[in-house]
Subunit: 444 residues, 2 copies
């Protein structure tokens, strides 16, 4: 398909190419755009039906959007602008340099300009920033027949018409009704008799997390957004929620690997930015690791008197770090999905304690068999190493399980209490236990 179209374009057969293109999905056309020369792209963009051109426009990268807006006439801008969904228009403006924004705004009427400015001012993490104004609103006095008529007349441009929203004369949200229910109901009934009044909604300033939670809990496709006076100002649609779920997860993955979060794709981020996002945490953790180094220095005498002791340090540190990271990851993820709440503190403590005993016993036993029987390490040293291993695992799992919850309690992002930080803490703990036990069991 794609090659056929590109060939037609290559041969200058634009009319034929247009025919092929209008049967294609706008996302696929947008992808083709990225492979075309810019002058050809401009021709194709201009010969496409306006509705398709507008759809394609919302899916091409910002560089190409900028190029197109710079190349087309004001009249063309207006005709495309009319066909773009409002939330896509806002996304576009957020990415553009100010001269492009000015040019576009110049070509919109006063009301739209006011609305755009209002939307551009919502905080990045708010419901307002991702809502759209394309929705169907009804009045509760309308009959079902009239409501369906209204949907037909105005529903055309709406992103989804699965749900209609009922508002009063001050635009205060009063109810919600699915199109399914409208079609099923007796056409003479007033909307207020069949609308649902237990509405799940958010405020313009509510954050993404709250929206995600509601969408998931109630399996919603759309959700109304209201202002402080409970007036309906927009709706959020599930496709945008899917995008922000990905964003939030990416952020968690990054934080858990001690990287400052960024929304930008890896391959599209320059080397300096990538380095900048990594250095801070590495420095913090590097300096923290010197505490561990200091512990070793303090026990240098012990290490040089029984030289084999040093060789177990990496195994103890790694196993401790890994054990703690496992617990931390499960708790951080549980907190993010709302499956674990801060009030479950004691439950988590008790669970991790029992798990750590099981895990610790297995690891210490396997390790004892290996070093005492296979590597013929001295009995007392074997015991010291394996007891250290056991207590390190138990402590690591308790620290790993509890730090994320503690962070959540004091409103710090639990994702920070992940592998790198846990490892640094557990390293020091493991060594302190180790040297304590060498004193006790080996009399050093």
């Amino acid at each position: 398909m794609n090659e056929k179209v590109l060939n037609l374009i290559g041969q200058g057969q634009y009319a034929q190419a247009r025919k092929e293109l209008i049967d294609m999905n706008v996302v696929d056309i947008a992808q083709l755009f990225e492979e075309m020369d810019r002058d050809v792209l401009l021709i194709i963009f201009r010969i496409l039906p306006k509705e398709i051109a507008a759809g394609v426009f919302t899916y091409i990268p910002p560089e190409l959007q900028e190029f197109l807006v710079e190349s087309i006439t004001d009249k063309e801008i207006i005709s495309i602008w009319d066909k773009i969904f409002f939330d896509d228009a806002i996304d576009f403006l957020e990415e553009m340099p100010s001269n492009i924004v000015k040019r576009v705004l110049k070509n919109t009427d006063h009301e739209t300009r006011k609305l755009i400015n209002q939307f551009l001012n919502y905080p990045e993490d708010s419901a307002g920033s991702i809502m759209t104004i394309e929705f169907v609103d009804l009045k509760k006095e309308m009959t079902v027949a009239k409501a369906i008529q209204h949907v037909r007349e105005t529903g055309v441009d709406k992103e989804t018409i699965d749900n209609c929203y009922v508002i009063d004369n001050n635009r205060v949200l009063e109810g919600v009704i699915s199109i399914r229910k409208l079609i099923l109901s007796d056409s003479e009934l007033p909307v207020k008799d069949i609308m649902q009044t237990d509405i799940k909604y958010v405020n313009t300033l509510d954050d993404h997390e709250k929206m995600i939670t509601l969408f998931k809990k109630y399996d919603l496709l759309t959700m109304p957004v209201v202002d402080n006076e409970h007036r309906l100002v927009g709706i959020v649609t599930i496709d945008d929620i899917v995008d922000i779920i990905d964003q939030e997860n990416t952020e968690d993955f990054q934080k858990m690997a001690a990287i400052q979060p960024s929304e930008k794709e890896y391959l599209k981020t320059n080397v300096f930015t990538l380095a900048k996002h990594r250095i801070l945490w590495l420095l913090v953790l590097m300096i923290s690791a010197t505490f561990t180094g200091n512990i070793i220095r303090r026990f240098n005498d012990v290490l040089s008197s029984v030289v084999i002791l040093a060789s177990f340090i990496p195994m103890l540190m790694d196993t401790g770090g890994n054990s703690g990271s496992q617990s931390a990851t499960l708790i951080i993820r549980g907190l993010a999905l709302g499956e674990i709440k801060p009030k479950d503190f004691l439950k988590v403590l008790w669970k991790e304690f029992r798990v750590s005993i099981l895990v610790g016993v297995v690891l210490a036993t396997v390790n004892f068999l290996r070093i005492y029987f296979l590597e013929k390490v001295d009995l007392m040293i074997s015991i010291t190493v394996c007891l250290t291993l056991f207590f390190t695992v138990v402590l690591a799992k308790l620290v790993g399980g509890l730090l994320p919850i503690a962070a959540k309690k004091v409103n710090v992002d639990p994702a920070i209490m992940a592998s790198p930080l846990i490892t640094t803490i557990v390293d020091a703990v493991a060594l302190l236990i180790y040297f304590e036990f060498t004193t006790i069991f080996l009399g050093l």
Copy 2:
């Protein structure tokens, strides 16, 4: 709201409670059910309108579902069963013990039973396992008016009617048309003139990842599922996609923390299962860490002759591990989101190389200033430590960046090449570099 209802129920005012309940969202009612005594719950379940009862039923935990099915009559089972969406019914049957499954199947007709058995046999990770049979199908010869009529008559039970699917007499999928387009179009036009033929679809056996990718790429709300003969057998809806996105992410988080993945919530998993999922990888990594121990043992002479050298080992190991984990996490996430492809191998290599030089220089410089000027460590030792640090960071980032892509190329899940494994590898590498440099610079 919830307390009011619970109070009414507590006082035995069931009729009043029913009135409150029917205005509530079924998800909220399901949550109330979890707080009720079982005998009260049974009363409430029975007095609710069947449609609401069916909705509530799909949202309560399996234990309660089992209890209800055991407690109600066959006639009641049939009336509830009729109102449950097919995919929810399948989810329910998958969780139930065989006696419950038998009892439910006994109360369904032959055709449904056949269909249920077919659905229960789809592999867990397939499109077939999450699709539903509630969708609207049209014929391409229908006029728009007839199609709308058909939607009205049959659309009632459908999970979403935003999209209708056009099939031929053998149920082969021919097109898709949005309800929006139907309502807008001239009512005498045949459906085939306005339907879209560039359809995004999956096969019953396609995996979750493919579905997620298509849903995200094309901002879909529903997607048709076809069999090998391209016959339409079901549709997948976005709410189920949101659930599996969460599942796949949870799996990645778990694998990246060296835990065998499990879908079950942490607080609902017993201690033995939790321990079992963690032990295997800990054992593997513990034994791998002995290589690092062996390196230390080989260089025991060096360590005992210049005792301060040992104290830098934790810092070198930790910083190396953290540097590698950062790169691995970004690449694993990029691969999961489809932003990085295996063919980007060289791009990633070049990018990580430059980032690692920047990061390495900064870390080594800060460290040099700290240990040489602040801690007054000998100059040659300071140089040795900082050069080791630099090369460790560079190597760690290359290993961390490339292992996940290499894994993807040979069809191993990249998520396994995360922090724990990278750390173990980098530990050994860091020590080898360290001891090599002590030989060169300190002549040991």
